[in-house]
C-alpha cells in the first residue's frame, strides 16, 4: 500500500473524519504533517511556543501541568482520534500543558496557517475542525470543573448553603446548642463556624 493511501486510511480511522469522502480526505491530508513519537518523547512542553494542533492516529499520550508547588499534575490521557494542542493553535499563547507519548505514537499535525488557508479554500472542512475544537474544549472545561469539585471538596464541610437572609430556617441551626468545642466532630459551616472557633480559642 502506498504511503498516500496509507495516510488516507489512517485519517479515516479518526471518528471526526470517518464520514469524509476520498476527495475531502485528500484535502485534509494535504494540510497535515505527520509526526512519529517514541515512548517518553515530548510533543508539546508547557509554556513553550507553538501554533499546531494534532490528531492522534496511533498510540497514546499523557497531558500534565506543573502545579505551583512543583509537582506534576496529570490532567488526562489521549488516544487515537483525539485532538491536542488546539488552544495554542487557535488562540496564540504558550502551551498550557506538557504532552508526552506513552508508547510508539503517530500524530497528524495542523498548523495555524494551514487552518487559516483551509477556512477560505475548504470552509466546510475548517468548520469541522473548529467545531471539534469547540466540543473538545467544552468537554475539557467540564471535566476540569468536575476534577476541581472532586479533589478540593473537604469531607467534613458541607458546601455552603445558597440561602439568602431570611431563609435561615432551612439550615441545621437546631443542632447548634450552645458554644461547640473547637474540635467538634462536625464543625458548623458559615459564620457560626467562625464563632465556634473563636470561642474555642478563647
Amino acid at each position: 500500500m502506498s504511503t498516500f493511501v496509507e495516510h488516507r486510511e489512517r485519517l479515516r480511522r479518526v471518528p471526526l473524519l470517518s464520514k469524509l469522502g476520498d476527495r475531502d480526505l485528500d484535502t485534509v491530508r494535504a494540510c497535515l504533517r505527520w509526526k512519529t513519537l517514541d515512548p517518553g518523547q515530548v510533543l508539546f512542553r508547557e509554556r513553550e511556543a507553538g501554533d499546531t494542533m494534532v490528531l492522534v492516529t496511533e498510540g497514546s499520550l499523557v497531558v500534565s501541568v506543573l502545579h505551583t508547588d512543583g509537582t506534576e499534575v496529570e490532567l488526562a490521557q489521549a488516544g487515537v482520534g483525539q485532538l491536542l494542542g488546539e488552544m495554542a493553535c487557535l488562540d496564540p499563547s504558550p502551551r498550557s500543558a506538557t504532552v508526552m507519548a506513552l508508547e510508539p505514537t503517530v500524530v497528524a499535525e495542523l498548523s495555524r496557517d494551514a487552518l487559516t488557508a483551509m477556512r477560505s479554500a475548504a470552509p466546510a472542512l475548517a468548520s469541522l475542525f473548529i467545531g471539534e475544537v469547540i466540543r473538545v474544549v467544552t468537554q475539557r472545561l467540564r471535566e476540569l470543573e468536575a476534577k476541581v469539585d472532586q479533589e478540593l471538596q473537604t469531607p467534613t464541610e458541607e458546601p455552603p448553603p445558597k440561602a439568602v437572609p431570611g431563609s435561615a430556617a432551612s439550615k441545621g441551626t437546631s443542632s447548634a446548642t450552645g458554644p461547640a468545642p473547637a474540635l467538634a466532630a462536625t464543625p458548623r459551616a458559615g459564620f457560626l463556624g467562625w464563632i465556634d472557633r473563636l470561642r474555642g480559642a478563647g
Binding site: V73, S96, V133, L152, K162, A163, G190
Partner: protein, 199 residues
Amino acid sequence: MITLADLRALQPLREYTDAELEMLLGAATERALRPGQVVCRQGDLGRSCYLLVQGSLEVRRESGLGNQVVSTMRPGSLVGQIALVDRWPRGATVRALQDGVMLELTRDVFERLLAACSPLALRFQHQLAITGIRHYRDALRRLAAAPREAPNLDERPSRDSLVGVLSVVQASSTEWGLSVEELDAVEFVAQELPRGPKR
C-alpha cells in the same frame, strides 16, 4: 436600541463585516440589563446564549474551591454558550453588575450558526472556540493556584482574619437587621471580606 455602530465598536467582533453584523443583529433579540439581574443560574438548563453589548457581568461558580468570582465579562463577550454546546446544566451563575444591554441568541439560532460554514458561521465558530479556550485557561490557572490539601478546619483562625470578619459582620447585620443566628445562612467567602459582603 442596539445599532450596527454599537456592534462595530466591540473589539471581539472586529473581523465581522457590516453585512455579517447586520445578520447577527437580525437573528438576535435585544435584552436590557439591570444591576443584580441574573442572566443565567448554575444548574439550570440553557435555552439561549448572549452577546454582551453594554455593561458588565459577573460570573460566579460554586465549586470545591468555594463560591468564586470566575470572571467579569466586558462588552463583546459571549455568555452562556457552553450549556448550548454540550446540553449540560449551566456551570456558573451570571449577574449584571450595572445597567447594560445584550443580544440573546436562542438555541435554534445558535445551532444553525454552529452547523453552517458561511463566512459568518465560521467567524462565530472561531469566536466560540476562542471563548472556550480562554475559559479553560482560566480554570487551569485556578486549579494550579488552589491548595493541594483541603484546608484544616481545626486550625484556629488568625486574629487578623477574625477582626476583618467581625467588622464586616457588624456592619452587615446592622444594615440588614439580622441576628447572629440568621447570619449563619449568609455565605461568607474569605477572599472577599476586605471588599465587603456580596448579596
